[in-house]
Protein backbone atom coordinates (compact mmCIF):
# COMPACT_ATOMS: atom_id res chain seq x y z
CA UNK A 1 0.00 0.00 0.00
CA UNK A 2 1.20 3.45 -0.60
CA UNK A 3 0.45 6.04 1.97
CA UNK A 4 -1.02 9.27 1.03
CA UNK A 5 1.34 11.33 3.12
CA UNK A 6 1.21 15.01 2.45
CA UNK A 7 4.57 16.64 2.30
CA UNK A 8 4.93 17.14 6.01
CA UNK A 9 8.54 17.65 6.72
CA UNK A 10 9.61 14.56 8.55
CA UNK A 11 12.48 16.57 9.78
CA UNK A 12 10.01 18.96 11.46
CA UNK A 13 11.98 21.79 12.94
CA UNK A 14 15.69 21.43 13.04
CA UNK A 15 17.29 21.10 16.43
CA UNK A 16 19.38 24.17 15.80
CA UNK A 17 16.75 26.67 16.78
CA UNK A 18 13.98 24.29 17.64
CA UNK A 19 13.67 25.85 21.04
CA UNK A 20 13.98 29.34 19.67
CA UNK A 21 11.15 28.70 17.29
CA UNK A 22 8.70 28.15 20.05
CA UNK A 23 9.77 31.32 21.77
CA UNK A 24 9.18 33.42 18.67
CA UNK A 25 5.75 32.10 18.15
CA UNK A 26 4.74 33.01 21.65
CA UNK A 27 5.83 36.60 21.67
CA UNK A 28 3.47 39.34 20.62
CA UNK A 29 4.37 41.31 17.57
CA UNK A 30 4.03 45.01 18.04
CA UNK A 31 6.42 47.33 16.33
CA UNK A 32 6.74 49.53 19.37
CA UNK A 33 7.20 46.71 21.82
CA UNK A 34 9.73 44.23 20.50
CA UNK A 35 9.51 41.18 22.64
CA UNK A 36 12.44 39.08 21.56
CA UNK A 37 16.14 39.87 21.41
CA UNK A 38 16.23 39.39 17.70
CA UNK A 39 13.37 41.76 17.13
CA UNK A 40 14.94 44.35 19.39
CA UNK A 41 18.19 44.25 17.51
CA UNK A 42 16.45 44.23 14.21
CA UNK A 43 14.21 47.14 15.08
CA UNK A 44 17.18 49.17 16.23
CA UNK A 45 18.73 48.76 12.82
CA UNK A 46 15.43 49.59 11.18
CA UNK A 47 14.71 52.75 13.13
CA UNK A 48 18.19 54.12 12.68
CA UNK A 49 18.17 53.51 8.95
CA UNK A 50 14.68 54.94 8.72
CA UNK A 51 15.72 58.12 10.49
CA UNK A 52 18.67 58.51 8.15
CA UNK A 53 16.38 57.93 5.22
CA UNK A 54 13.90 60.59 6.29
CA UNK A 55 16.77 62.98 6.52
CA UNK A 56 18.13 62.37 3.05
CA UNK A 57 14.75 62.18 1.37
CA UNK A 58 12.88 65.07 2.91
CA UNK A 59 15.80 67.05 4.25
CA UNK A 60 16.95 68.71 1.06
CA UNK A 61 13.48 69.92 0.11
CA UNK A 62 12.76 71.15 3.60
CA UNK A 63 16.05 72.98 3.60
CA UNK A 64 15.00 74.51 0.32
CA UNK A 65 11.84 75.90 1.76
CA UNK A 66 13.55 77.11 4.89
CA UNK A 67 16.63 78.62 3.29
CA UNK A 68 15.76 79.11 -0.35
CA UNK A 69 18.52 81.49 -1.20
CA UNK A 70 21.22 79.29 0.17
CA UNK A 71 19.90 76.24 -1.57
CA UNK A 72 19.25 77.76 -4.94
CA UNK A 73 22.25 79.98 -5.22
CA UNK A 74 24.87 77.53 -4.14
CA UNK A 75 25.99 75.66 -7.20
CA UNK A 76 27.72 72.35 -7.50
CA UNK A 77 29.73 70.81 -10.27
CA UNK A 78 29.69 73.75 -12.63
CA UNK A 79 26.14 74.78 -12.46
CA UNK A 80 23.76 72.46 -10.66
CA UNK A 81 21.82 74.46 -8.14
CA UNK A 82 22.34 72.70 -4.85
CA UNK A 83 18.70 71.84 -4.26
CA UNK A 84 18.32 70.47 -7.75
CA UNK A 85 21.41 68.32 -7.51
CA UNK A 86 20.45 66.95 -4.14
CA UNK A 87 17.06 65.85 -5.33
CA UNK A 88 18.11 64.50 -8.69
CA UNK A 89 21.34 62.74 -7.84
CA UNK A 90 22.14 62.74 -4.16
CA UNK A 91 18.92 61.49 -2.60
CA UNK A 92 18.59 58.35 -4.74
CA UNK A 93 22.26 57.62 -4.17
CA UNK A 94 21.88 58.04 -0.45
CA UNK A 95 18.90 55.71 -0.39
CA UNK A 96 20.93 53.16 -2.27
CA UNK A 97 23.82 53.40 0.17
CA UNK A 98 21.47 53.14 3.10
CA UNK A 99 20.01 49.99 1.66
CA UNK A 100 23.47 48.50 1.27
CA UNK A 101 24.09 49.39 4.87
CA UNK A 102 20.87 47.76 5.96
CA UNK A 103 21.55 44.57 4.07
CA UNK A 104 24.98 44.35 5.63
CA UNK A 105 23.55 44.91 9.07
CA UNK A 106 21.06 42.14 8.51
CA UNK A 107 23.82 39.83 7.44
CA UNK A 108 25.60 40.69 10.65
CA UNK A 109 22.47 39.94 12.65
CA UNK A 110 22.08 36.67 10.87
CA UNK A 111 25.57 35.66 11.90
CA UNK A 112 24.98 36.80 15.41
CA UNK A 113 21.82 34.72 15.75
CA UNK A 114 23.36 31.79 14.02
CA UNK A 115 21.11 31.72 11.03
CA UNK A 116 22.34 30.21 7.87
CA UNK A 117 20.40 30.52 4.68
CA UNK A 118 22.51 28.08 2.74
CA UNK A 119 21.23 24.96 4.41
CA UNK A 120 17.67 25.71 3.49
CA UNK A 121 17.51 23.72 0.33
CA UNK A 122 16.58 20.24 1.34
CA UNK A 123 17.23 18.17 -1.67
CA UNK A 124 15.44 15.25 -0.19
CA UNK A 125 13.84 14.55 -3.46
CA UNK A 126 16.76 13.87 -5.66
CA UNK A 127 14.89 10.95 -7.07
CA UNK A 128 12.24 11.96 -9.46
CA UNK A 129 12.14 8.69 -11.34
CA UNK A 130 8.97 6.94 -12.16
CA UNK A 131 6.76 8.03 -9.37
CA UNK A 132 7.62 11.67 -9.63
CA UNK A 133 7.50 12.44 -5.94
CA UNK A 134 5.27 10.32 -3.89
CA UNK A 135 2.64 12.44 -2.29
Amino acid sequence: MTENTTQETDDAVETDGGVKTEAYLDKEINIFKPATPFMRDHLKVIWISFAAWVLVVFGPTTATVLAPDLMTETTILNGFPLHFFLAAIFTPLAALLLSVGYAMQRDRLDTKYGISHESEEETDSGTVAADGGNE
Binding site: M1, T2, N4, T6, Q7, E122, D131, G132, E135
Partner: protein, 151 residues
Protein backbone atom coordinates in the same frame (compact mmCIF):
# COMPACT_ATOMS: atom_id res chain seq x y z
CA UNK B 1 -3.73 -7.37 -20.86
CA UNK B 2 -3.46 -4.38 -18.62
CA UNK B 3 -0.77 -4.28 -15.98
CA UNK B 4 -0.59 -0.58 -15.44
CA UNK B 5 -3.51 1.78 -15.66
CA UNK B 6 -3.06 5.54 -15.64
CA UNK B 7 -5.77 7.73 -14.22
CA UNK B 8 -5.14 11.41 -14.93
CA UNK B 9 -7.22 13.57 -12.66
CA UNK B 10 -7.79 17.28 -12.27
CA UNK B 11 -9.67 16.92 -9.07
CA UNK B 12 -13.03 17.67 -10.59
CA UNK B 13 -16.24 15.70 -10.50
CA UNK B 14 -15.68 14.79 -14.10
CA UNK B 15 -12.52 12.98 -13.17
CA UNK B 16 -14.31 11.10 -10.42
CA UNK B 17 -16.53 9.20 -12.77
CA UNK B 18 -13.57 7.79 -14.56
CA UNK B 19 -12.07 6.46 -11.37
CA UNK B 20 -14.84 3.91 -10.91
CA UNK B 21 -14.11 2.42 -14.28
CA UNK B 22 -10.41 2.41 -13.69
CA UNK B 23 -10.71 0.71 -10.34
CA UNK B 24 -13.03 -1.90 -11.71
CA UNK B 25 -10.71 -2.72 -14.57
CA UNK B 26 -7.69 -2.76 -12.31
CA UNK B 27 -9.36 -5.28 -10.11
CA UNK B 28 -10.27 -7.55 -12.95
CA UNK B 29 -6.87 -7.41 -14.57
CA UNK B 30 -4.92 -7.29 -11.34
CA UNK B 31 -3.31 -4.10 -12.49
CA UNK B 32 -1.59 -1.21 -10.73
CA UNK B 33 -3.02 2.27 -10.86
CA UNK B 34 -1.09 5.46 -11.32
CA UNK B 35 -2.92 8.63 -10.35
CA UNK B 36 -1.55 11.67 -12.12
CA UNK B 37 -2.26 15.33 -11.51
CA UNK B 38 -0.95 17.77 -14.07
CA UNK B 39 -0.40 21.37 -13.04
CA UNK B 40 -1.58 23.19 -16.08
CA UNK B 41 1.12 25.79 -16.56
CA UNK B 42 -0.91 27.81 -19.03
CA UNK B 43 -3.65 28.12 -16.46
CA UNK B 44 -1.23 28.94 -13.67
CA UNK B 45 0.29 31.54 -15.87
CA UNK B 46 -2.89 33.62 -15.90
CA UNK B 47 -4.27 32.61 -12.55
CA UNK B 48 -1.16 33.07 -10.47
CA UNK B 49 1.29 34.75 -12.78
CA UNK B 50 4.23 33.76 -14.88
CA UNK B 51 6.69 34.02 -12.02
CA UNK B 52 4.91 31.15 -10.31
CA UNK B 53 5.33 29.01 -13.36
CA UNK B 54 9.00 29.89 -13.28
CA UNK B 55 9.21 28.89 -9.66
CA UNK B 56 7.64 25.56 -10.39
CA UNK B 57 10.09 25.03 -13.18
CA UNK B 58 12.93 25.87 -10.86
CA UNK B 59 11.84 23.19 -8.51
CA UNK B 60 10.34 25.37 -5.81
CA UNK B 61 7.09 23.46 -5.73
CA UNK B 62 7.73 22.71 -2.07
CA UNK B 63 7.12 26.33 -1.26
CA UNK B 64 3.70 26.37 -2.87
CA UNK B 65 1.42 24.67 -0.40
CA UNK B 66 -1.89 25.53 -2.00
CA UNK B 67 -0.96 24.03 -5.30
CA UNK B 68 0.39 20.99 -3.54
CA UNK B 69 -2.81 20.68 -1.60
CA UNK B 70 -4.93 20.59 -4.74
CA UNK B 71 -2.67 18.09 -6.36
CA UNK B 72 -2.62 15.84 -3.34
CA UNK B 73 -6.35 16.01 -2.88
CA UNK B 74 -6.92 15.05 -6.46
CA UNK B 75 -4.56 12.11 -6.54
CA UNK B 76 -5.55 11.17 -3.02
CA UNK B 77 -9.13 10.74 -4.01
CA UNK B 78 -8.10 8.21 -6.61
CA UNK B 79 -5.76 6.49 -4.23
CA UNK B 80 -8.28 6.02 -1.48
CA UNK B 81 -10.80 4.59 -3.90
CA UNK B 82 -8.26 2.17 -5.22
CA UNK B 83 -7.01 1.13 -1.83
CA UNK B 84 -10.42 -0.03 -0.74
CA UNK B 85 -10.12 -2.59 -3.49
CA UNK B 86 -6.61 -3.56 -2.56
CA UNK B 87 -5.01 -2.07 -5.62
CA UNK B 88 -1.49 -0.70 -5.66
CA UNK B 89 -1.50 3.03 -6.30
CA UNK B 90 1.25 5.39 -7.25
CA UNK B 91 0.49 9.08 -7.01
CA UNK B 92 2.33 11.59 -9.12
CA UNK B 93 2.28 15.28 -9.85
CA UNK B 94 3.83 16.89 -12.87
CA UNK B 95 3.55 20.26 -14.53
CA UNK B 96 3.15 21.38 -18.09
CA UNK B 97 0.56 21.04 -20.79
CA UNK B 98 -1.88 18.40 -19.63
CA UNK B 99 -2.19 16.21 -22.69
CA UNK B 100 1.53 16.24 -23.33
CA UNK B 101 2.40 15.39 -19.77
CA UNK B 102 -0.13 12.60 -19.67
CA UNK B 103 1.33 11.21 -22.82
CA UNK B 104 4.91 11.30 -21.68
CA UNK B 105 4.11 9.92 -18.27
CA UNK B 106 2.27 7.06 -19.87
CA UNK B 107 5.14 6.32 -22.17
CA UNK B 108 7.74 6.55 -19.44
CA UNK B 109 5.87 4.26 -17.12
CA UNK B 110 4.83 1.52 -19.49
CA UNK B 111 1.22 2.32 -19.07
CA UNK B 112 -1.15 -0.03 -20.86
CA UNK B 113 -4.37 1.86 -20.52
CA UNK B 114 -5.34 5.43 -19.77
CA UNK B 115 -8.69 6.02 -18.13
CA UNK B 116 -9.87 9.58 -17.93
CA UNK B 117 -12.99 11.63 -17.62
CA UNK B 118 -14.32 14.12 -20.07
CA UNK B 119 -16.81 16.89 -19.52
CA UNK B 120 -18.38 15.97 -22.84
CA UNK B 121 -18.72 19.53 -23.94
CA UNK B 122 -19.95 20.41 -27.33
CA UNK B 123 -20.22 23.44 -29.53
CA UNK B 124 -18.94 26.77 -28.35
CA UNK B 125 -17.92 25.59 -24.92
CA UNK B 126 -15.82 22.90 -26.46
CA UNK B 127 -14.22 25.39 -28.78
CA UNK B 128 -13.37 27.68 -25.89
CA UNK B 129 -12.41 25.19 -23.27
CA UNK B 130 -11.26 22.31 -25.35
CA UNK B 131 -10.88 18.81 -24.17
CA UNK B 132 -7.82 17.38 -22.58
CA UNK B 133 -9.25 13.91 -23.15
CA UNK B 134 -9.58 14.52 -26.82
CA UNK B 135 -6.07 15.87 -27.18
CA UNK B 136 -4.67 13.03 -25.16
CA UNK B 137 -6.54 10.57 -27.29
CA UNK B 138 -5.07 12.00 -30.43
CA UNK B 139 -1.53 12.29 -29.21
CA UNK B 140 -0.97 8.86 -27.77
CA UNK B 141 -0.74 5.33 -29.12
CA UNK B 142 -1.79 3.84 -25.84
CA UNK B 143 -5.42 2.76 -25.51
CA UNK B 144 -7.55 5.44 -23.89
CA UNK B 145 -10.88 4.94 -22.20
CA UNK B 146 -12.82 8.17 -22.05
CA UNK B 147 -15.65 8.25 -19.57
CA UNK B 148 -18.09 10.99 -20.28
CA UNK B 149 -19.47 12.90 -17.37
CA UNK B 150 -22.95 11.90 -16.49
CA UNK B 151 -25.18 14.77 -15.67
Amino acid sequence: MYDTILVPTDGSDTAEYAVEHAVDLAEKYDADIHALYVLDTSAIDVSLGTEQVDRIQQGQFEDMPELQQRANDATGAVASRAETHDIDVTEAVVAGQPHKQINSYATDNDVDLIVMGSAGRSGVRRALLGSVAERTLRSTQIPVLVVDRQD
